[in-house]
Every structure is written in structure tokens, then in C-alpha cells.
């Protein structure tokens, strides 16, 4: 049997890039309460910024579905983040990694967010639940 999940914390965000700063402050506060190691906090901040900014910038949403719900919980040394939104179905795990550029002139800025999430989270899972997207990211100590 899995050990019990420490109490989960929730944050509701509007679909607005300005909300990312509020989220970053909230993650720092949760990290302090959960006594997370510094390296893990960096990875959490990185992956959550990428996930939320993708949803805000690229998500296609029905009217009135402006909320993104973020939950964080710790089980022993692992932390899990759940991100849910009402956008059109989008599984980031189906996105191919960017082709590495061979020169500055050829390099195209952008398209790195999902690649970084896959590299810095220990595990990522996507679920479609009715009309909601749910992204689950798990972080083990590095």
C-alpha cells in the first residue's frame, strides 16, 4: 500500500500569463511548508511555468472556462503536481522534441517548453477526463 499523501494544496489560476508570478510565489511558499530541497523547487518552478504558459498561450477553450487548477501534494520524498484545465484536448506527450539547431543563424527560438518538462520532471502523465485536460507531473529528489 502506498503511504498516505500529505495534505494537498490547491491554487486556481486565471488564463493569464501574469498569473505565473503569483504561482511562482505560491510554489515557493508550499516548498517551504513541505521542506522541499532547493533543486526540486527549481524543477517544480520550471515545469509548472512551462505547463501553465503552454495552456495560456496555446489552449483553445470554450467560453467561461477561464480557470486552471493546480494541486500539489507530497508522498514521502516525492512531490506530485496536477494541472487541470477545460481546454480542447491536448496531450503534450505527443509533441515531438525540437530538432537541434546546428548554427545560431538556423536556430528558431521557441518550442522548448515541453522538452524541458519531460527532462526535468521524473514522470509525466496526461489524462483526458470528460472535458478536462489533466497533466500529472511527479518529482523525485535528484
Amino acid at each position: 500500500m502506498k503511504p498516505a499523501l500529505a495534505e494537498m494544496q490547491h491554487l486556481v489560476l486565471r488564463r493569464d500569463l501574469a498569473e505565473i508570478a503569483r504561482m511562482a510565489a505560491w510554489i515557493d511558499e508550499q516548498a517551504r511548508i513541505l521542506e522541499l530541497p532547493e533543486g526540486m523547487v527549481f524543477r517544480l518552478q520550471l515545469c509548472l511555468e512551462e505547463a501553465i504558459s503552454n495552456i495560456v498561450r496555446h489552449g483553445i477553450v470554450p467560453e467561461g472556462s477561464e480557470e486552471i487548477r493546480l494541486s500539489l501534494g507530497r508522498r514521502q520524498t516525492r512531490v506530485t503536481a496536477w494541472i487541470e484545465d477545460e481546454g480542447q484536448e491536448f496531450d503534450p506527450l505527443q509533441v515531438s522534441p525540437p530538432e537541434p539547431a546546428t548554427s545560431i543563424a538556423d536556430a528558431k527560438p521557441g518550442g522548448l517548453g515541453i522538452h524541458l518538462m519531460r527532462q526535468f520532471a521524473t514522470r509525466i502523465e496526461y489524462q483526458r477526463l470528460g472535458s478536462r485536460n489533466r497533466l500529472v507531473m511527479e518529482f523525485a529528489p535528484s
Binding site: 533543486g39 520550471l46 511555468e49 537541434p100
Partner: protein
Amino acid sequence: MELATEEIEGGITRIVLDGRLDIAGAGAIDLRFNTLAGSRRAVVVDLSRVSFLASMGIRLLLTGAKAANSKGGKMVLLGPDPAVEKVLKTAGIDTLISIHHDAAGAIAAVKP
């Protein structure tokens, strides 16, 4: 996010970034950073005071390096902390913009 510039020996500009290079930090300085990168022949971007880097920060650095490159200039990175350097390397930026850990090496790499 703070941006400061310093003209050093041999026409080299050092751009010192201080703070979080996240979506808000990158947005706060992108215009100034790109204007500087595109108008100087040799730029050393000092990252030693950058505590966090996400993809919008990488975009800023890459756009700056492209602006410098298109005008015949050169840009390198100096002194990222290990977590920031890991993001740069995971994104493959180190193969496009060289990363240095000593100022002398960075200056030698951009010297016209």
C-alpha cells in the same frame, strides 16, 4: 529582473542580468537586451546572478545571439549557476552560444 551594462577592454560589452529569467523577467528586459545585443560587436552576458531560467529566458538569450550574429557580432555566456547551466544544456543552447566560467575565457572568446 535587472539589466546593467559595462564597457570593458577592447570594445567588449558585459551585460549583467540579475534576477529570475522567467516569463516575467524575460519580458521586462527583452527589448533593451535585444537592442544591446544587436548593436555591439562583442557581448559577454553575465548570468552569475540569475537564479532561475525557463524557456522564455532561453528564447531571450537565443534571440539576442541571433541579433548579434546577424550584425557580425558575437555573444557568449558567463558564469551560470549549476541549475541554470543544466537548463541551458538540456535545451542545447551550449552548442550554439558558448558558456564560460571565467571572465578571461569569455572575453577571449568574443574579442573581435
